[in-house]
Each structure stands twice: as C-alpha cells, then as structure tokens.
C-alpha cells in the first residue's frame, strides 16, 4: 500500500467520472497543441513563401489580394502593370533585385508563372531532373505538379486560360517540359515556371470570339506583367519606395510581411486567439476535475474518517486527494499530448489536400512545454479545494452522526 496505489484505487472506484475528466482535459490540450502546430506551420509556411521579398508591386487594388495572388499564388491578381513602368522601377538604385511575374494560365489547376530564373533561385529551387528553361515555351515544373501529373522532361503540357481549371485550353501553344524541381516546401512546388515571353506569346492573339479580351488587348497594346517582386538594397527603401510608387505611378506597392501579418490577424490564426482558446478549454477541464474530486471527497467522507481513525494525519489525507488530482492531470496531459500530435498530423494532411499548402506538423512546438506545465498546475489547483475539504473533515462529528 502506498500513496499511488491508494489514489489509483480511489480513481478506479469512480472510473467513469475520472475517465470523462481525463478525456476533457486531453481534448483541450490536444486542441491547443493542434492550433499551436498549425498556426505555427501556416506562419512558417507564409514566411518561407515570403522568402525575403520586401515589396510586391502590382496593379492598384486590394493590397492583400496583390500579396495573395503574386506571392502565395492563392487569389486572382488585381490586374496587370505595364512592362516599361516596371522596367523603370527596376532601375531604381534602392532596389537590389526585382523579379517579374506574369500570370494568366493554369495547367490542371497549377498556375503557370512567367518569370525569370531568379525566381527559382530566390526560393532555393534546385533541379531534380532536366534543365532550366532557356527559350520561349519551355517550362520547369514544381515537384508537386510533376508528381500529381507524372511529368518528366520531354513531356508536353497545354495551359488553360485563367487561374483555375477551365475548358478554355490554349491547345495551339503547348509547353515543353525541360526540367522538374526538387521539393522546396514553398509555393514553388505547386507552380509551372516558364519565361515571361511564353505568357506574352500565348496571349498575343486574343480570342476573336471573346469581345472583352479583344477590347482589353486594344486598350493595352503594350507588353504587361502581373507583378514585380522587389528586394531592397537598403532599409531606407522601405521608407521611400512604397510611397513613391503609390504616388507617382499607376502601380501599387504592398509589403508582404505587413499584409501577411494583417491576414493572419484577420483569419484569427493569431496567438491571442489560440491563447484564449487554450485558457477556456483548460478551465473547463479544471472545473471538471474540481467537481469530480469534490464529489469524491463527499462520497468518501467515511473512508476519510476511517483513515483518520487508523492514524492518518490531516496532511496525509490532503496528500491523497492532491495525488489523485495530479494523477488525473498527468493522465489527461499525456493523452492530450498524444492526441494533439495525431490531430496536428491529420490537420496538416487535410490542409495539404484541400488548401494547396504543404505543412509539416511533426515534432514538438516549444510552447507545448508551457501547455503541459499550465495543465498540471491547474490540475493541482483544482485538487487543492477538495483536498482542503478532506483535510478539514471533522472526524468526531461524522462518527457520532453515523453510529
């Protein structure tokens, strides 16, 4: 007989209530850990995709939309910007590099991006097989694109107009796949990359049946790109460039870091929300513990009296109740950790499948340590009041009442 054996026996005696409370705490902790993992992964993923891009210059419109479309390749672009205006900007001495991107078509739902080889090297993209494109209508495909469509160098692919799957195929302008990229864990994996000239070439001749397209071509006879991804040469640029672009050109400048932070906040992926959620769930579990232990102490009033008569001090009785609380807490926390990691992996898979975002939710989040610590601390706190009640049981009164 020892403290743990006694506590386990007591917990087993009220097995159902103990079990439910352990499950509630476990679910709370699992949810928090999943949220921590996923929000961190999403933020890290955004960060990787930002990859040090300081400024995105595109057509006027919503800055979030500009970032989403040109950096994360999730939304539709605001519009296009004239090439000569973009070229003028590139020459600005405050700019270290400016990578042009031209959007417009997709291949089986994967975006075809007209850009320079700098774009690939910006994301540390390495060729798995084949070579980089060197001529118009040659294409390099990202690892996921290649995997899903079984592409290899030498294949021909046909783009469809628009950024989502459509029937409007550019059958007259097939691309030659010349290379496949190794996985990078960035947006690069989901793109088809080709020189900007290819995009121009495909769209040079507007569909005569589409009056909108014809009218657009007539109004914008000059060459266009969708956006320019800018890296600053000096921090000074952050102060000068965005304002200058917004004021003096037909283009708009958006800071990806700022807009992404705003987006994360809007989506509620922020740490504040996670923290609040965490507190609510753990408090619910703590209340459950409290109620279980409280009613257990009430139910076991006579057991407590008996133990006191056998020579147990008040402190020993208190220790028994506290140990039960700690055991419930540890069990719930352990189960929560396990479930949390299972949930995280499942959620990452689901996001990967439905949101076109590869996440890696394996491993420990540094905050997990604090979650465990807080959960245990709260279990102990929830056990203290029932423990005090057990501590204060009036043996003589209960004995004279009972017999």
């Amino acid at each position: 007989m020892n403290l743990f054996k006694l506590s386990i026996a007591n917990l087993r005696f009220s097995a159902l209530a103990s079990f439910f409370n352990v499950v509630i705490l476990a679910l709370g902790i699992a949810t928090i850990i999943t949220l921590l993992h996923i929000s961190e992964q999403v933020e890290q993923r955004f960060e990787r995709d930002l990859a040090g891009i300081d400024l995105v210059v595109g057509a006027k419109g919503s800055p979030i939309q500009l970032i989403l479309s040109s950096v994360f390749h999730l939304d539709f672009p605001n519009g296009n910007i004239p090439l000569d205006e973009a070229k003028k900007l590139e020459a600005n001495p405050l700019i270290k590099s400016a990578i042009p991107i031209a959007l417009g078509d997709n291949y089986n739902g994967f975006r075809i991006v007209g850009t320079t080889a700098d774009y690939i090297s910006h994301y540390d993209g390495k060729l798995a097989v084949g070579a980089l494109y060197s001529a118009q209508m040659e294409a390099v495909v990202g690892s996921i694109v290649a995997e899903k469509n079984h592409l290899k160098p030498g294949d021909k692919i046909v783009g469809a107009h628009g950024l989502v799957n459509s029937d409007d195929m550019h059958t007259d302008f097939p691309y030659n796949v010349v290379g496949v990229l190794a996985p990078t864990g960035t947006v690069l994996d989901r793109l088809v990359l080709t020189p900007v000239e290819s995009v121009w070439h495909v769209h040079e001749h507007p569909d005569p049946d589409d009056p909108e397209e014809v009218a657009y071509k007539k109004a914008h006879p000059e060459k266009e790109i969708t956006a320019l991804l800018v890296t600053y040469k000096t921090p000074m640029a952050a102060v000068v460039l965005p304002r200058m672009i917004d004021k003096t050109s037909s283009m708009e400048a958006a800071s990806p870091a700022f807009e992404t932070a705003r987006l994360i906040k809007l989506l509620g992926f922020g740490s504040d929300t996670v923290e609040l959620f965490a507190v609510v769930l753990i408090v619910i579990a703590a209340v459950g513990f409290f109620v279980t232990l409280w009613s257990a102490v009430n139910d076991r009033c006579y057991d407590i009296v008996l133990m006191r008569c056998l020579g147990a001090t008040r402190s020993k009785i208190f220790a028994v109740v506290l140990t039960e609380g700690i055991m419930l807490g540890s069990l719930g926390t352990l189960l929560g950790l396990l479930l949390g990691h299972v949930f995280s992996c499942a959620a990452a898979r689901w996001i990967e499948a439905t949101r076109h975002m590869t996440l890696n939710a394996v491993g420990f989040h540094p905050y997990e340590f604090y979650v465990v610590l807080i959960a245990l601390a709260i279990s102990v706190m929830a056990a203290i009041l029932p423990g005090v009640m057990a501590y204060r049981v009036n043996v003589a009164k209960i004995l004279s009442k009972g017999s």
């Binding site: 007989m1 020892n2 054996k5 006694l6 026996a9 007591n10 087993r12 005696f13 076991r300 006579y302 057991d303 009296v305 008996l306 133990m307 006191r308 008569c309 056998l310 020579g311 147990a312 001090t313 008040r314 402190s315 020993k316 043996v395 003589a396 009164k397 004995l399 004279s400 009972g402 017999s403």
Partner: protein, 212 residues
C-alpha cells in the same frame, strides 16, 4: 496502562460530559455503558485522541495524550491504538488485504503482509483477501475490521458499539473474537456500548449517567 483522570469533554466549547475517572492495567478490559446521549462515545473518542479534552488528563502507557497536538495524537493513535466500529469497517475502493495494509500505511508503520494474511486465515477470510468489501457480509467485514485493529499489536483497543447491529449469535462470536485478539497481544480493551448483552462478558463496567 490507561489512566483517565476526572475530566470534562465537549464539542466547540460546549460541555457534553463530566467523567469521574478510569484506570486500567495492561491487558485490562472495561465496558462503558449508558443510554444514548450519555457521552460514552464521546469519552471513547477522547481516549482515542479524536477530540480534544477540555479539562483533565488521559495517559496511555504513561504518556499524556492531552498534551499532544492533533497530528501527534494521529500518529500516536496509529501506532498504539486499534479501533473497531459498529458499521464503519472498510474502505470501499480497496481489497480486503489492502484494507489491512492501509492501516499500517496511514499510520506510517511497516506493512506486515504475512501477519495480515495470517490474521485473515485465522478469521477464516483468507479466500476473501482479494475481494472488495462489497463482496463481504456485514459480519465478515467486521471481522476484517477486527483483524485490522490488532494488525500492528496495539497496546490499547477501543471498540465503539461493536455488536449493536448484530443478532445474539453474531454478538457472541464478535465479542469473543475481540476479547481473544486483545488477550493474545495483552492489549487493554475498552468498549463503549448500550448493548446490555455484553455486560456478562466483563467484570469492569462503567455506567455513564445522562448528559449534563
């Protein structure tokens, strides 16, 4: 061995009992009787150190327990006193054997598993050692409780109405058993009861009057 001076007892500052005094030698046996409300149970709990004494002294084996703090009294009770009750026998969540060992554990004594098993065997409960108290009859549970009370060979055994809920035959068995185990370890025995059937078993009987 047990020496109770003239004393007053009570709960929360209200006097319940004025007691004339009691002296018992080692191995001595005594019955405290009286109508319900006469304070015999209160007296027993005071000797057990479960309630503080308002005035007077209680010495067990030469030690005045009224000078002890509450936790010192708990330790003392665990070590030197065995208690038996009318209905309060066993902890429901533990097996019969663990109920015996629990007594040693909470008293901070070494857990003599072999002696516990021997005692159970002697009381014919050896085959019940792994059962929960729910599986026992009232009489069996009481026998386990008696075994537990003498497990660590206490100098003093206190029994509170040990036979009141039993029929005549069981009453005989239980009182004989209690006396037997007490005599085996030469323990002093004090029983508080209103059960007049016990009177014939004891030479020393103290009758308490109505509560003051």
């Amino acid at each position: 061995m047990l020496n109770v001076s003239e004393m007053t007892l009570g709960y929360d500052g209200t006097q319940v009992l004025r007691f004339g005094g009691l002296e018992l030698a080692e191995g001595g046996q005594c019955l405290i009787t009286g109508a319900s409300g006469s304070g015999k149970t209160t007296l027993l709990y005071a000797i057990a150190g479960l309630i503080p004494v308002m005035q007077g002294k209680i010495t067990v084996g030469g030690v005045d327990i009224t000078e002890f703090s509450e936790s010192e009294r708990d330790h003392f009770r665990g070590k030197y006193i065995g208690m038996i009750f009318q209905t309060l026998h066993l902890v429901k969540s533990l097996s019969v054997l663990d109920n015996l060992l629990l007594a040693s554990y909470v008293a901070g004594l070494s857990q003599e598993r072999k002696r516990a098993l021997d005692l159970l065997k002697k009381l014919g409960l050896h085959n019940k050692k792994d059962d929960t108290p729910d599986c026992l009859s009232q009489g069996q549970a009481q026998r386990v409780a008696i075994a537990r009370a003498v497990l660590h060979r206490p100098a003093l055994i206190l029994a509170d109405e040990p036979t009141s809920s039993l029929d005549d035959a069981a009453c005989e068995t239980v009182i004989d058993l209690i006396k037997e185990v007490a005599e085996e370890t030469n323990a002093t025995l004090v029983i508080s009861t209103h059960d007049s059937r016990l009177k014939s078993h004891f030479t020393k009987v103290i009758k308490l009057g109505q509560a003051a």
